[in-house]
Amino acid sequence: MSLVAEAFVSQIAGKVPFIHVGNQVVSELGPIVQFVKAKGHSLSDRLDEVQKAEMKAYMELVNNMLLTAELYLQWCDEATVGEITHARYGSPYPWPLNHILAYQKQWEVKRKMKAIGWGKKTLDQVLEDVDQCCQALSQRLGTQPYFFNKQPTELDALVFGHLYTILTTQLTNDELSEKVKNYSNLLAFCRRIEQHYFEDHGRGRLS
């Protein structure tokens, strides 16, 4: 379980996360979950069919809204792109590769946004969508410790990964993390998982 949860923190970067097991390398969430399941560990076995359907639906909601919003903010918002993303994305590579790869990635992301209809969205509209998504997650979570009551599932890992990244990554404007902070139960959820599963690393970045 901690394997899956840990693998999330750098999900935005693309093909990461991946895990090495012996000779095999498995990348990205879906395949990793399947792989771990095949090894006999699964978080969602005790859910019934309707709950599994709900879980998959909420995971798609997070992918659809949060992930796309994160990509938008990183690559389509000029301020963030100029100050942070270009430098960070190109940093492992020598000149001129760093610029070329960064521009190429930006072009790809913009194409994708246009194809799914986000090309014409303004930053405010994107933030509103994120707010709607967080509201839905918050209502679903309610006062329970995890999304499906007592035990965490893949959905908890996915939501934690995204929210933690949003809350702890420094960007030029803090509006995205402010949106998330409006929902106290989501904040408490992140803190609880961080303390419970990551306490040995001594990280306490969520204050």
Binding site: E49, V50, K52, A53, E54, K56, A57, Y58, E60, L61, N63, N64, M65, Q104, E108, R111, K112, A115, I116, G117, Q132, C133, Q135, A136, L137, Q139, R140, G142
Partner: protein, 312 residues
């Protein structure tokens, strides 16, 4: 609220009020929430735009895209989700995301990318509803848009290959259909007894897949096996869309049913008569004797006899 609301959308066929998923979502929502919409079907005159269909026009607003149109209708107090709890509202968002991520790519592929389907069904249908030079350009553009959407959301940069993603998107779509079927179970609608936004979306995506006749039908076959989803589509069509279908009105339907009944009765009577005759023949003692004379016919005569019998 009194201002007339006009919706421009693609027309219908195969028993549907519209074959375009997004148009169907809006039409269904309007029926569920009681919004008085005047539907303008796009035809091959130059009236109206074809860009961002469906488009809702009021006195001072033009709204496009189903999500925005539904939001607008809700603000005008046509709200089909009035009785939903907060959690059900959240579930609605989640399931809509599931539909868009998992089902939509395969539906787009079935309609616009699969060549047999596109060239024999989709392109002629849409081209017949566009004025001349547009009918040559616009369907191709729509097809390319669909392909782009599939590749960019599912393919691997930088060289996007369709073949890699085809199998995956159909697998995902079948799984999504199974999930929807599990969630619907035996209830009439997704949240209780009255339809709401989620029902409109599911109907909008499933009904064209269910009803349109395609040459390549793997996803349709899968859907047809999920009987509760088929029943869901048929229920909505019968309850909310029957009168406006422009085909057969209920009175006409009744006379057809009555005629059918008469015909069935006639056929039954005939078959009863034939059975009785058959029984009589079997019981009659003359039958074995009758067979002997026919055996004496020469092959040529037998052949001419059988030929005579066969001629109309």
């Amino acid at each position: 609220m009194a201002a007339p609301l006009e919706l421009s959308c693609w027309g219908g066929g195969w028993g549907l009020p519209s074959v375009h998923s997004e148009s169907l979502v809006v039409m269904a929502y309007a029926k569920f929430s009681g919004a008085p919409l005047k539907v303008n079907v796009i035809d091959n005159t130059w009236r109206g735009s074809r860009g961002d269909v469906p488009v809702l026009a009021t006195e001072d607003n033009i709204v496009s895209q189903p999500a925005k149109i539904l939001n607008f209708l809700r603000k005008q107090k046509y709200n089909a989700d009035y009785e939903l709890s907060a959690k059900q509202g959240a579930d609605t968002l989640a399931y809509i995301a599931l539909l868009e991520e998992k089902l939509l790519p395969a539906v787009l592929h079935t309609f616009w990318v699969e060549s047999d389907n596109y060239f024999t069904v989709t392109k002629p249908w849409f081209a017949s509803r566009m004025p001349f030079p547009l009918s040559l350009i616009l369907p191709g553009r729509m097809s390319k848009g669909a392909l782009n959407r599939i590749l960019l959301t599912r393919g691997e940069p930088p060289l996007y290959h369709l073949r890699e993603v085809e199998a995956q998107i159909y697998r995902d779509a079948k799984e999504c259909l199974n999930l929807l079927s599990n969630r619907l179970g035996t209830s009439q609608f997704f949240f209780g007894d009255t339809p709401c936004t989620l029902d409109a979306y599911v109907f909008g995506f499933l009904a064209p897949l269910y009803k349109v006749r395609f040459p390549k039908v793997q996803l349709q076959e899968h859907l047809k096996q999920l009987s509760n989803l088929c029943r869901f589509c048929d229920d909505i069509l019968n309850s909310y869309f029957r009168l406006s279908l422009g085909g057969i009105s209920p009175a006409g339907q009744e006379t057809i049913d009555a005629n059918l009944q008469k015909l069935t009765q006639l056929v039954n009577k005939e078959s009863n008569l034939i059975e009785k005759m058959d029984d009589n023949l079997r019981q009659s003692p003359q039958l074995p004797h009758r067979k002997l004379p026919t055996l004496k016919l020469t092959p040529a005569e037998e052949e001419s006899n059988s030929l005579q019998r066969l001629s109309p």
